[in-house]
Every structure is written in C-alpha cells, then in structure tokens.
C-alpha cells in the first residue's frame, strides 16, 4: 500500500487523535498523543493490510530551541519507526510529550525490542514509560544526574562513576 494511503486510513480511523501529519523526502509520519499510542500501534500491527509487525526503532527528540517554532505545544517527541516485512512499507508514529511530567505508555509487551529502547529514551531524555517492568538507565550509570541528550544538558559536563552496580539481575528473566 502506498504510504499516503496509510496516513489517510489512519486519519479516517482515528480522526481527532491524529494531531498532525508530516511528509518529507518521500517519508510519512503521524503525530499522536500519549493516550492513543497503544491503540494506534496495536491497530497498525494487527490490521491485515497494514501488517506493521516490526518495530524497528524507538528514539526520543528534544525540540528545545528548534528554530522557527516558538508555538510548539510539546517539548519532546518519541518516534516509533514501524516496518512491514510482508508489504514492504514504513511509517513513523511520533508521540507528542509536553514535558517530563507526562509519561508514555510502554509497548514492551507488544515488541520485545521496546524494552531496551524505552530504557534508552528514559536514560537519555528522562521520558517515563508507564507499565515498563525494568525502567532503569541503560547506557549511563545509575548515579548519573540529569539526562544527557536533552538540549539543556551541556556537552562538556563530566560525571564520575563511583560505584558499579552490584546486582543487574531482574526478578524475572523476561524483564531483563
């Protein structure tokens, strides 16, 4: 299916919940609110004609200081890159996160890879994921203060690692 048609179908199905759509260089994205994230992703995954069975990537973005967009209502976005192996098409679903008081529902139970990728977004942007069983830092160490990829985190700030974490095992192996 043409990616334009996918966006049209999403609009027809979810209407108001699609906050905005975006097209650039032949790629398409839709922006939604955190409340409808699971609903939209489950529909995209399970619809036979769309068949987005692969979650390729979850990445955060901090739009603080993005030029020419002072009226942006949200500071953060979390971008989910979906791919359909059967139909060979892609779409990007972006979740608008106003600030770090808002949390995003976790999709770790829908795609195993989301577990670690959401941990990375939490680690580097400080966006919380509701329902994540093991939301710990993944790239930075446990004592790290702040979130390194935020635009207001200075690039030359150094933080010491004093104590390596003793126990990294989870209660249940599925959560690791």
């Amino acid at each position: 299916m043409d990616e334009v048609q996918i966006v049209e179908r999403l609009k027809a199905k979810f209407g108001e919940k699609i906050l905005s759509t975006y097209t650039f260089a032949g790629q398409h994205a839709v922006t939604i609110g955190p409340d409808s994230l699971r609903e939209v992703l489950i529909w995209l995954r399970d619809d036979r004609e769309l068949d987005f069975s692969w979650l390729m990537d979850v990445g955060g973005v901090d739009y603080l200081g993005y030029p020419g967009d002072d009226d942006r209502e949200w500071r953060f976005e979390v971008a989910y890159q979906l791919y359909s192996l059967g139909k060979n098409h892609r779409i990007r679903v972006k979740v608008a996160v106003t600030d770090d008081s808002v949390s995003v529902p976790s999709v770790w139970d829908l795609w195993g890879v989301a577990n670690w990728m959401e941990r990375e977004v939490w680690d580097l942007f400080g966006i919380r994921f509701d329902g994540h069983p093991n939301l710990r830092r993944i790239l930075c160490h446990d004592e790290f203060v702040g979130h390194a990829l935020r635009k207001d985190y200075p690039i030359n700030r150094r933080q010491k690692l004093l104590q390596p974490s003793e126990m990294i095992l989870c209660e249940r192996m599925e959560w690791a």
Partner: protein
C-alpha cells in the same frame, strides 16, 4: 560410608544458586559487556545484561559538528565494517537534500561496503571459533581481513578508519590497477572461505557445540527486531538490499540466504554464504562500473576539485563557503535504513536547516539483536552463552554509541 552414599539421591542435596559476573572486561565478550548470571551447576537460571561501558555520547557529539564531520565518527560505530557506516551516513544526508551521488560513486560505495561486510563476517566467524576452541580458522580469516585492509589502504591511504565517502559521492577515484587487485583478492577469498568452511561445517566438535544452542525462534526475531544474519538464520527473509534497494543494488545478481534453525550453527552458515554473495556483488560492480565523476558537481553539496579551487575565483569562494558554513540540508527529518554487516543500520536525522544536525539517532542492529539474549539463554549452559554472544556478533561501538 557406602551405605550412606547409596542412600542419598544426588538431586536432593540442597544447593544454592551461584551468582557469577562475566565481564565487563572478559576475553569472551569481545569488548566491554557485562553479564550477570545465576547458575544452577552450569545451567543458566537467570541472566542480566549491562551495557554502556563504551558509551561515548556519540549522538550528542554529532549535534555539535558539521554534517561532513560526522563521517569519521560514523566509522567508529561498527569498527569491524567501518566504511559501511559512513557510506550510509552520507546516503542519509543525500536523501534529505534530495540529491543522488553519481553512478560511479554509488558503485564504489557498493564495492567498499561489500568488502566491509566480508571483513565483518571474517572477524565474527574467526573470533567466535577462537572462543569455542578452533584457533586455526582465526588466522585464515584474519589473513584475508589484512588483504582487504591493504586494498583500502591503496584506495584511501588509511587501513581501518578510511574516511572515504563524502556527502554527494566519495572523496577519491580508485587508482588505475586497484580494480584488478580487488578481483585478485576476491578470487583468493573464495578459497579461504572454502577452507574454513571445510574445517568447521562437518567438524564433530563444532557441530555438537553449535546445533540447537542459542536458538532464536522466528517470533522472537520479529519481536526483538533481529535483522541481518541473525534474523535470516531465524527464517526472516529480510534484506534491505533486496527489499528497498539503494546504490543500484537492484542491478546486481545475488542471493539472500535464509535458514530456519535460528541456532548458532545457522547464524555461522548464513555468514559464510553472505561472504560468498558479497564477493559476487563486488565482482559484478567492478565489471559494470560506469565512468564519470565520483563527486557531485553541486556547490551546495560537495567541494569543487582542487584545480578549480586554486585557479578560479568561483571555485575558491565555493570551497571557502562549504568549509566555513558546511552543508545545510533543509528543515526536515529522515529515517534512512541500509543493510549493515549486522542488519538494519538506521539513521534518524533531524535537521533545523543549519550546518549541524539537530538530532541524530542511530538504530544499531546489534542493540536489537542483543536485547533478546537474556531470554534465549534461559536454561542453557554457561559455555553456550559465550558461543551465542559470538554468533550474534555484538559490536560494543554501535551497541553503546
């Protein structure tokens, strides 16, 4: 004594689980990874992974430099196949700017990237066989890795971190007899692959160690986003070179190996077949290489040739402007995926219209594959964890960024 012994069932002796740390600096982890396992005898009951020991703030660093200055950084992602990462970076920015590299540059990218894939698999197979006790293969494989490094040196002047591609093409054309040298090495390579394959494929020790261990089922491969050789060994017929071709891959004849077992043996065999297919691609690309420029003649994208810089005013201004103000893609965002040595290498780049990227997010293929590692090792032997770590091919550079 004997009475007492015969009266005790071994299973009923009370035992405790042993918690053991493997890494962060351990020869079998090929880098800095830390595993913590709970063992019942030699069987893994629980496992935790800690990554981030090689976290260099890569994505943050990319936000502070010009687009072309990311090229050498990109090669530090997967340092086993460096040039593919920088080729893919330049391709992402070209897509963003709506330009395309000239056909000769695209063919050179295909050749260098496929050679990178060959050495990536050489390292993966060679070191993994060392881990499980077969040192001989290591020398066979590293021998050809050296020869391919020699070819890179001839082409670019550097062996490992070659800094070869530029946005809009590649920085140098190949020297006169370079293609003949490549073809000669490729011919010898077939022999080396055959030798190593013959040493291991039906070797009893190897087969017993590899078949049925570290199995990633097809469902798990899809759920955990296992692409590349790891996914293809689990029955996922996905190769971006076929699914969404770039750099003219649709012109070349090659097969994508898909095996169904999902175990360590199949992952190794997929890599053997892929090396052979990469050799085919390199040979076809050399035989059909188009003539022409290797860098775009677009003053907004690529530096002008040196004789123009030194002899014309326009060339000098153009050079100055690009060096001082950089390449400036329009405002927008792109997710560009290419087939790296380990699977889908994705660059999610957001531009604010300035000379430096606003945000660079890298989708490292082995991050996704490694995330299923604790799950697949449950109930397996601790020695198999080492073999599995090798066949998933964790590259700490792209895992931790």
């Amino acid at each position: 004594m004997s009475e007492h012994h015969s009266g005790t069932d071994v299973q009923s002796i009370p035992t405790d689980l042993l918690t053991l740390n493997i890494g962060p600096s351990h020869p079998a982890t090929h880098g800095t990874l830390r595993l913590q396992v709970q063992l019942d005898g030699e069987t893994i009951v629980n496992m935790g992974c800690e990554i981030g020991y090689l976290h260099r703030g890569y994505e943050k660093q990319c936000e502070t430099v010009y687009y072309n200055m990311v090229v050498p950084y990109a090669e530090r992602l997967n340092y086993c196949s460096p040039v593919h990462n920088s080729n893919a970076w330049c391709y992402a920015i070209e897509q963003m700017m709506g330009v395309e590299a000239p056909p000769r540059a695209q063919a050179l990218r295909v050749i260098t990237s496929e050679m990178a894939r060959i050495i990536d698999h050489c390292v993966c197979i060679g070191t993994n066989l060392v881990d499980i006790g077969g040192l001989t293969n290591f020398w066979y494989m590293y021998n050809y890795r050296e020869k391919i490094y020699d070819l890179y040196e001839e082409l670019t002047g550097a062996r490992m971190m070659v800094n070869y591609p530029r946005i809009g093409g590649v920085c140098l054309d190949a020297p006169d007899d370079w293609f003949d040298h490549v073809l000669r090495v490729m011919e010898e390579l077939t022999e080396a692959i055959g030798d190593v394959h013959a040493l291991v494929a039906r070797n009893r020790i190897f087969v017993d160690r590899m078949i049925g261990t570290g199995v990633i089922s097809n469902e798990m491969a899809v759920s955990h986003g296992c692409t590349g050789p790891v996914g293809r060994a689990s029955g996922v017929n996905y190769d971006i070179r076929k699914a969404q071709p770039y750099w003219g891959y649709e012109k070349y004849q090659f097969d994508v190996p898909v095996l169904q077992g999902g175990d360590n043996y199949d992952r190794t065999m997929v890599r053997f077949i892929e090396m052979e297919q990469s050799r085919r691609i390199v040979e076809q690309a050399i035989k059909s290489i188009p003539s022409g420029p290797v860098l775009l003649e677009n003053p907004l994208v690529a530096l002008p040739p040196k004789d123009k810089v030194y002899n014309t005013m326009e060339g000098l201004i153009n050079h100055f402007k690009l060096v001082m103000h950089g390449v400036q893609p329009p405002k927008g965002e792109i997710y560009s995926a290419t087939e790296g040595g380990n699977g889908e290498l994705g660059y999610y780049v957001i531009s604010d219209g300035g000379p430096m990227p606003f945000r660079v997010r890298i989708r490292p293929p082995c991050f996704a594959s490694y995330s299923c590692f604790p799950k697949i090792m449950k109930g397996q032997m601790v020695a198999d964890a080492v073999a599995t770590l090798g066949t998933i091919n964790i590259i700490a550079g792209e895992l931790d960024r």
